[in-house]
Symmetry: C5
Subunit: 321 residues, 5 copies
């Protein structure tokens, strides 16, 4: 589905144009065309391929989807694959944006993603002095927007880690802690797979030899790279803490086991001692003078209770209870 198809000249919008006119506008100097597709049909992609002269391998990738993030050069044009991440029901929904950039066109293809890029268009059109950089700047604006949308997700993951840290040491929910740590790890991996390859790719747009369409925008791509590096650093930090958290949780589980065993031992002693006394006074020797004492029975009971009270406080003191 075509979402938008607009021609720009000297940083200003010329007109919304029908897709049939694209090739005409492409011929005008200082003019570029920006087309946005959403979950396109194969036929639409083929049309665009013919219109813009896209490379078949890139179009194949866009058609198939589920690519890893990358930015590839095909002659003087670029093909970029970027993941979008949208939280949904506690999971992360992975979408994909494929961007084809040439000297005088930008084609963005959005799939499995709900958030649109109308804000990018609006922002770009508000800044004609930047939009004058041409297709390269639009490319930057798109990537920048997608990358900025990673930040709240990272924040969310940090919050989850803090929640886990809080509950690990409270110790009464080890099972759900393990689950939470594992779920956090899964989300981390999803973000990592979106960020790390992209970081590598944008790095090549900001230093050394730069593709022609990105010339003049290196500082902007360095800014994106910097954002991605920040996200990357945070992810690695969470991963590191999460690895420690899993070991800490294991330690707490084992500690808990020891405490249960101590409790078991303490209560066993408290029950076993009077049982032993009762056993002794259940013996059938003829000659057991206590049997005939008037207070034999109550004294025995008091002894049982007294010993148990002492034991109880002793176990309290050594923290087995």
């Amino acid at each position: 589905m075509i979402v938008n198809c607009v021609a720009y000249e000297e940083g200003r919008k010329l007109a919304d144009i029908p897709k049939e006119d694209i090739s005409e506008y492409l011929k005008r100097p200082n003019c570029f065309v920006w087309v946005a597709l959403k979950d396109p049909e194969p036929a639409e992609l083929d049309e665009m391929r013919d219109e813009f002269g896209l490379h078949q391998l890139a179009v194949d990738d866009a058609r198939k989807g589920h690519q890893r993030p990358k930015i590839e050069e095909y002659g003087d044009s670029l093909f970029a694959v970027i993941h979008t991440l949208e939280p949904k029901d506690g999971e992360l929904n992975i979408g994909e944006v494929d961007i084809f950039v040439g000297p005088n066109y930008v084609l963005s293809v959005r799939s499995h993603s709900e958030k649109s890029f109308t804000s990018v268009r609006a922002r770009s059109e508000r800044e004609p002095h930047l939009l004058k950089y041409g297709a390269g700047y639009v490319f930057y604006a798109l990537v920048d927007t997608i990358v900025d949308r990673y930040f709240p997700i990272i924040d969310e993951l940090e919050t989850e880690l803090e929640a886990i840290e809080g509950s690990i040491f409270n110790n009464n929910t080890p099972r759900s802690n393990i689950k939470a740590i594992y779920a956090l790890k899964q989300k981390l991996m999803t973000v990592k797979h979106a960020v790390d390859p992209l970081l590598e790719a944008t790095g090549r747009l900001s230093g050394g030899r730069v593709p022609q369409v990105c010339e003049g925008t290196q500082a902007y791509f360095r800014d994106i790279t910097d954002h991605l590096q920040r996200i990357h650093g945070t992810i690695e930090g969470i991963r590191d803490m999460q690895t420690t958290a899993i070991q800490v949780n294991l330690g707490m589980i084992n500690l808990n086991e020891t405490e249960v065993t101590k409790k078991l031992a303490a209560w066993a002693a408290i029950i076993a001692i009077p049982t032993l006394i009762a056993g002794i006074y259940g013996m059938n020797f003829k000659n057991m003078p206590e049997y005939d004492f008037a207070y034999g029975y109550p004294v025995a009971l008091v002894a049982m209770i007294g010993i148990d009270v002492l034991l109880y406080f002793w176990f309290k003191k050594i923290r087995w209870l």
Copy 2:
């Protein structure tokens, strides 16, 4: 065994030729010969060596088999070793394809592998505009096909990981979970050994100085490299999760131990308390008034049962039962 021996000219099939005529066709300009062997005899390899002028070291590798994946240059020709992976009885069967590529020939040698490459031949012959690139394109088509066959295997491993994740938290099959995690790891290593060296090798065919036979097909080899990088990323992701899974499983086992100990303690208490009461009323003191009460016995029984009922609900409440 010779599977095929065909001469091509300008991207089109000339003819199936007998192996004796190979050297003749090699002399014709714009012509290349594509020979496919399957589990060949040493003598067949020697024949091919003489026909195509292959390097002895490469032929030795092909004869011995069990090489690690690699792409080596010998003068203006290439020698590639690639693993094929075919699932069989829950294990991964490792085969090997050795490919010799020169300016005007392709020799593929398939060993221990059941899937043929007839589809590659068919596809290549349907695209004469690509086949015109010559031996380099055939080489690409072969490698591409083998790499594409890795994807379903990777998908299968992801499914296995998900199954393990599902059953870890159900907790009643820790033994089979451990086995499954270990088996998954073994398969991962097999795929990793097939993919990682190949990734390194194809990377050198798509950028920087490229061997002459691959000139003009760099974009295609970059596409393969990209596929391999995707597989590599997925493998690393599974490995990472599997490492966490093993620790999580250990945590669950220890948690389970604690729960068993708690159950043991709870039931021990439930049995020990009435045993103690029975012990007390088994004492032989003369002066135990309860013995003469009409309802002494039923009251004692009721006390036993009552205390146990209370204990039972108490242990339920603190989740020891």
Copy 3:
């Protein structure tokens, strides 16, 4: 808030100047202006941007804060982000210093940080032969001061590690040990995130092609890099020991469990044996000669006690008690 605004010439202070005069002084040769802001308003930053011609992306970073440490070149000027670390209530408070350096100006922006840089200014003014290097030297002095403030924090972390090492083997506070190890790890990560990116950035100022403003001060920046490498090495060392400490603590917890189980077993035996004897002499066989012995009862009691004493010393000997 403007903390300071001073013009320097030939390494000597000219005058405190109002911000309106900055542009005037910037035109004088051999003269540079050093402005220090603290938690500035957006408007103040914009003013400075216009005064010094700062790049919008850098100003945006300074405005937003929470950047990762970095040193970026914008034309012939530099933009640096550096973290300050100040211990507060047992945690590490992260502040940020953003420094803009051009051929004839230094603008430092301090946020969320309590320690001022008046000492830097004083020290620089005391060494006019160094201050003659210009803005580059001031930049060095600022970075050097911030980095030197990392050392006491690292020392503190080493002390914490030693305290943990001491208490791990005493074994009676495993729970607080785990917490302390985890807290140490958290602080380590904070310092690591401040140090590692900065190390990478300063490394580029001391070797190879160096930005113009830093020319002549390479040896100084190498000194900073060396300090950072020392901190980095110490952090990695603590991290490594902390990983081992967590495993050692787990080992101690499990060892403790075994010791509790041994104690439990020993005491269980000490109680169970006399209970068994009492049970035997509670049997109702007619023909039990012991029942009629005059000393049956005391002998039984002595036997119980004697066996228990033997058991007790036996368990002491094998160290189960």
Copy 4:
């Protein structure tokens, strides 16, 4: 001890020569001398140093032994240290071969190693077209032979890993499993220390700038590098699986503990329940009608046995027994 001292010309053996004549043959063009020493005396090494003009540092290394594998250039000659690995009584015996190679000589010094290199000499003399490459080819042949002798050792380690994998899941020999895993790790490290530095060293002989004596044999050294990479890959694979195996074994030990605890709990219940019943009917209340029932005793016994049978099958069902 001098094992061999032979002069070669144009790839063919000239003669066995006495060591006094070496310098004479060294002067002849197209001629090279190949000397093999075994566990030499210091004096013999000094003689060779003077004969061939070896560097003192290299001779010192050869004298001291216990070097790490390496290939060093001294002017136009090479000095190589390579480990030999020979299995002996279940351990790996580390020997050392030091090779000095110059334009017209090869000196091999074998220490602590039982396998000789007569096969290398025989093979080289059978292939005069290769031996014509001169000292560089002899060097290749020696290294190739040593490296090929690593393969059976690696195979043996793989077999040991498989044996461990088999017995881990059988679970009745955890103690010997741990020992076997540790012993495997020790051997792996030995092989790793032999292979990894050598891999690095041979890599430099096959690509980029190559020492003069190795010119023309790059493809051969690439072949060795490839073999070493295969070994390296296998070692890393075994290491990886061994790390997992140690965790799996720990999991199995803990699982085993749980199973023992479950068995303990089950049998405790089976004994405690009838003990409780016996206790109840050992109470001395006057009013216990069961005491007078004709079948009181057998009914009690049957109840005890019946409950235990039920418990037994219940525990079987929930797999605690």
Copy 5:
């Protein structure tokens, strides 16, 4: 404290000179001065700085001490920091040697270290043909001596590892095993911090562009680098085994726990069964014919003992005892 102050010419000692004459000798061609300080006062360092024209940053480092090992270039002179390691009371005492090397001087500053370098001086003076290389060779001789002193320490660590390996599988000292592993790790880290940065630094003196004072001695510095690499390899090997050892020890602790639990269970059964029998014959049913049997009591006792003997051997057989 000045330990030595000697002038050399053409590889031979000229004279012990007072420090006031240093500048005079520095002017003579082919002459160099070698000064050795030990735990110097700040004033002594300042004197030397003025005498030799040392860089202030380097002198500051030497004054402060506690630097990480490094070799820095200041113009045509070098500044090196190297750690000395001396075992003392089972710990490793870290000292520091700072070396300033210029075209015609060597200044070594030894701190916190007991072993002197008189042997270096003696050795150097015995080899005038090497000492002719000048200050660079003295520098080499000093570094070489310090590095050679690392070897016995590494050997000691290997011996400690072997001792730990021996006692882990004996299993009766898990607590001291953990302590020993941790202490080994601490020492390893100390050596690692001394060796790794130095390895990096010396590597730069043996290949590529080399500082002028080290020209002609590259092969010697490569030799040092090689020694450091050997130490580095050994450290990494010990670290690797130590990581495995800690896991193995954990496994043994858990295995031990299982064995204690098994023993507990076995003895519990051996005591509980006769207790149950005694309980049964303590019941007060009227109709218990056994009570009147003449041999009821002894038969019961024999049954108790018989069952226990059977149980004992059964538990022995299944290795729970």
